[in-house]
Amino acid sequence: MVSGIIGTLVLGTITVLSYFTAWQYFFTDGKVDGAYRAITGFNHVWLTLTESLHIDLGVLLDPISVMMLLVVSTISLMVHIYSLGYMKGEDGFYRYYAFLSLFTFSMLGLVVATNIFQMYIFWELVGASSYLLIGFYYKKPSAVAASKKAFIVTRFADLGFLIGILILSFFTGTFDFAALTNPSGQVLGSIAGTSFIGLSVLSWSMILIFMGGAGKSAMFPLHIWLPDAMEGPTPVSALIHAATMVVAGVYLVARMFPVYAIWAPESLAIIAFVGAFTSLFAAVIACTQTDIKRILAYSTISQIGYMMLALGVAGYGGEAGSGFTASMFHLTTHAMFKALLFLGAGSIIHAVHSNEMGDMGSLRKYMPVTAITFLIACLSISGIPPFAGFFSKDEILAAAYTSQPIYFWVEWFVAGLTAFYMFRLYFGVFWGKKTEYKHKPKEAPLSMTIPLIVLAIGAAAAGFIPFGDFVSSDGLAHEASFHWNIASLSILIALAGLALAAWLYLRESSRPEKVAAGFKGFYTAAYHKFYFDELYLFITKKIVFELISQPLAWFDRHIVDGFMNLIGRMIYRFAVAVKRFQSGQMQQYAFVFVSGVVVLALIILIWWT
């Protein structure tokens, strides 16, 4: 228990400091001539490679990093407090808090990175702490498998990230964000000018860097690890796999945004496409799942797709940059309501001891606080005004509409799906059938409900923050215009989704089965997540292991090792053969000594003349 309290107190301090920093930055120090500038709080040159290329460790403050500081410290504090109740009495309580602190440290280091290499270092650290936390219940085989899967998939993506960094720094000669993202693009001249298979090398490197972001942010087709990552403790899912780490990919793209928007528009188009497709794809799967955490996981994937899309359709500066602001806005509100949803789910699981929707129903009577806060989160994510999600989603839709209408219609549809699956979940758990519980579910303790209430306030009210004043692609205040036509369209489809969910799930009925039967083939495919796990298994097991690895292993074992053993045996034989020198006879020793002198003398004298 002590470890938890220490961790929570320290994090409380960090949160206070973050808010203080943010206040200082946004209202006192950050603004010069009406534009927010980047401040390097501190920078330590760690490894010098060449004069301009060095790896530093430092603290960079600019609107997005300060915003992320607030998000990460707030959510992390809430999760720390929540876990005091949730993890109470678990084996390895102290281990849990140690990992949690490690994660928070790494995440904060990531967001304040002054250069892309520091970001990469902390990027790997969050990956490692995520691995540790997913596998927290290391006695459960499924948790171990999930942690390995998450680690391997994200590591694979990070390989792309690293190659991207290396290409970028090779041409530009710097890791520094300040130099790289300078809109004048001074350092980017040579890399943007060199082309390779139809695209500039810069675009290639930016695509590779995005690959790292796609892995962390679970973008299609690297999304497969996130649903399995739900094996970790639920507060961890709220912190890492909903609010903070998984948006690191979005943050990465936002960090490099001037490069994407001005110099590598092709890669930005790819990001937009991947974001849109992922949000649709994951939303469809979410409609069919029955494990409440998995529903939330797919919902997370889908919402991150939104953020990626918003970045993808944005441009640099002015009105075109509204997508950037919208993306960051949605990141913030999403962190609130998705963390709330996960913590609410944790509270439910804590009471019911199951993840399956089938085991739940009518919980609103037993758990009023959880039910109300959960409802607020659902309304927020579905985009019902005046909750936070409505405002941020509206901005994304507006940005998509002004730039590429096709994306607008896709996302509009996904908004409907979102409302549907969230209320399917809400009604299924808190209304629906009357369930007989073996142990009567109880409302969670105070340590768990207080974070729920705090986050609920955030999820309800965060939409009223004038976000454009603080965060924009070029640092200038950006007035978000309100679009009545788009807002009414999106409210309409959200209500339609909500109504459909209510019709199907508010009371127990046979309607859901009938509807599912109506879409039989499609439903089964979506239920099985479109067989992506199977596809990956086929590729890795059948093709990589059996066709490539096994022959290589045979070669290694028989040819390479055989050769090595031969060398070893020869050395040993030789060692046996020279044994005779060491006879123990002093006469012989003296003889060898003199022979040595003579031979050396001959060598020197002959060589000398």
Binding site: I571, Y572, F574, A575, V576, V578, K579, F581, Q582, G584, M586, Q588, Y589, A590, V592, F593, V594, S595, G596, V597, L600, A601, I603, I604, L605, W607, W608, T609
Partner: protein
């Protein structure tokens, strides 16, 4: 000459006083109180160690027969540290094994005498001074090797050492005679100017080198090593393998870099050949050894081969890397020997096979032993890695890539046999594992010192720079 010139010899004078104190204390102590002499010696020697680090004056005395310079004084301090550790480790042995208690003081007197010889050798500016120092360093060690009365092997070691070192001394002296014949002087600076590379002088150089190579156990002058190391008491072996060797290496470098700098092409050639021979043969013999002391004998022969690599690196860098390596080597080897002593004192066992399952019964000793072996094998991040890395760098910086390649291949061989010992301790199971060992305080102190040094040295960057500053001034 004035009296302050004697202050250049502060290290030597302190040791001589220490030796006299031990002789008098021995006379004044009753037989049943002889054990106290061990404490007295440890404390006095510790004081000497500290005094060695006090600011010293540099200069030459006795018509530059004796030269005190920065690097020499650092070397003396390193030897002081090593000898202090040896003294700490030998207390238990002296208490238990020597039935003839009155002889306890002899051990310290002999060690001090030998150390005085080394100090004079290190500070010599004249070949005869060097020779006398070398002999003064060797003869007491021969007596020490035969210290365990009534043991055949100990006596054999003593006889072998004294006869063979006399033999090598004769050859060395012969070589010095030839050098004198061709240059007309024995002073380092005069030999430097008069040495003209005549056949006589070159022959003298080879003879001189062979005599010194005997002390460092360079192949083919190494054959005494294994027999003497095995037969001598463990503590004497550790003294021989660390202190004697380090002193001889230092003076070899000084002579090469100052007196014979004009024929560096020749001695590089010689070193090239003997370093390959030494590494390879040392390793090949070490692979098959079953006895820890013999094993360490051959492994230290191989290590000497690696040190020659550093000497090839040339004056500035070579001196630095070799001194840095010696510092690390002192701690690594003494840790291994310390544990070997403990094991032998408590169980009478000295085979590598006897270490099976050692980790189960003696986890802490096993970990220190592992650290020391890793250091000898050059596995990062233990100090030995850095030492070896710099040795390789020194040779590579002169462009001897083939030599470095051969050294790296040899490194895989010794990695194998060092890890075999680690495997025996940690992986092999045994029903007859050695019982848990309770060492006395000085032994534990010595092992702790070694362990801390092994971990810390590699990470203290300024240390290398400091040695670099000092070592380039000789």
């Amino acid at each position: 000459m004035s009296w302050d010139q004697l202050l250049f010899m502060r290290h030597e004078i302190i040791l001589i006083i220490l030796m006299l104190v031990m002789i008098i204390a021995n006379l004044l102590t009753k037989d049943e109180n002889k054990e106290k002499l061990i404490h007295l010696a440890s404390i006095l020697f510790f004081a000497n160690l500290i005094a060695g680090f006090l600011p010293a004056r540099y200069g030459s005395a006795f018509g530059s027969m004796f030269v005190a310079n920065q690097s020499g004084i650092m070397m003396k301090n390193i030897l002081n540290i090593a000898t202090f550790i040896v003294i700490l480790q030998s207390g238990e042995w002296l208490k238990k094994e020597i039935e003839n208690k009155p002889r306890i003081a002899d051990f310290f007197i002999l060690i001090l005498a030998s150390l005085i010889g080394m100090f004079f050798m290190i500070s010599s500016g004249h070949f005869l001074m060097l020779f006398i120092g070398l002999e003064l360093a060797t003869i007491p060690v021969a007596a020490l090797a035969a210290f365990e009365q009534g043991k055949r092997k100990s006596a054999e070691a003593g006889v072998k050492l004294i006869l063979l070192s006399t033999f090598s001394a004769a050859i060395m002296l012969f070589g010095l005679g030839m050098i004198y014949g061709s240059t007309g002087s024995m002073y380092f600076n005069e030999v430097l100017t008069n040495f003209n590379g005549s056949a006589l002088g070159m022959l003298g150089f080879v003879f001189f080198f062979s005599g010194l190579a005997f002390k460092i156990s360079i192949v083919p002058f190494h054959l005494w090593t294994a027999d003497v190391y095995e037969g001598a008491p463990v503590n004497v072996t550790s003294y021989l393998s660390v202190v004697s060797k380090a002193a001889a290496l230092y003076i070899l470098m000084v002579v090469f870099y100052t007196v014979f700098i004009n024929i560096s092409a020749s001695w590089t050639e010689i070193l090239y050949i003997v370093s390959i021979l030494t590494m390879t043969l040392g390793n090949l013999f070490a692979i098959r050894q079953k006895n820890i002391k013999r094993f360490m004998a051959f492994s230290s022969i191989a290590q000497a081969g690696f040190i020659l690599l550093g000497i090839i690196g040339g004056a500035g860098m070579g001196m630095t890397v070799v001194m840095y390596f010696i510092l690390i080597y002192v701690f690594s080897n003494l840790a291994v020997f310390g544990i070997a002593t403990s094991v032998y004192r408590h169980s009478g066992k000295e085979k590598i096979r006897d270490l099976d399952g050692f980790y189960q019964t003696n986890p802490r000793l096993s970990l220190i032993m592992m650290l020391a072996l890793f250091s000898l094998a050059g596995i990062p991040p233990v100090a030995g890695f850095f030492g070896k890395f710099f040795l390789f760098t020194a040779a590579a910086s002169k462009g001897y890539f083939w030599l470095v390649l051969i050294a790296v291949l040899n490194a895989t061989i010794y990695l194998y046999y060092y890890l075999m010992v680690v495997k025996a301790m940690f992986i092999n199971q045994s029903d007859e594992a050695i019982d848990t060992i309770q060492s006395d305080f000085p032994m534990r102190l010595s092992l702790a010192l070694c362990a801390i040094a092994l971990i810390a040295i590699g990470f203290i960057g300024p240390l290398y720079e400091w040695i670099n500053n000092v070592a380039t001034a000789f």
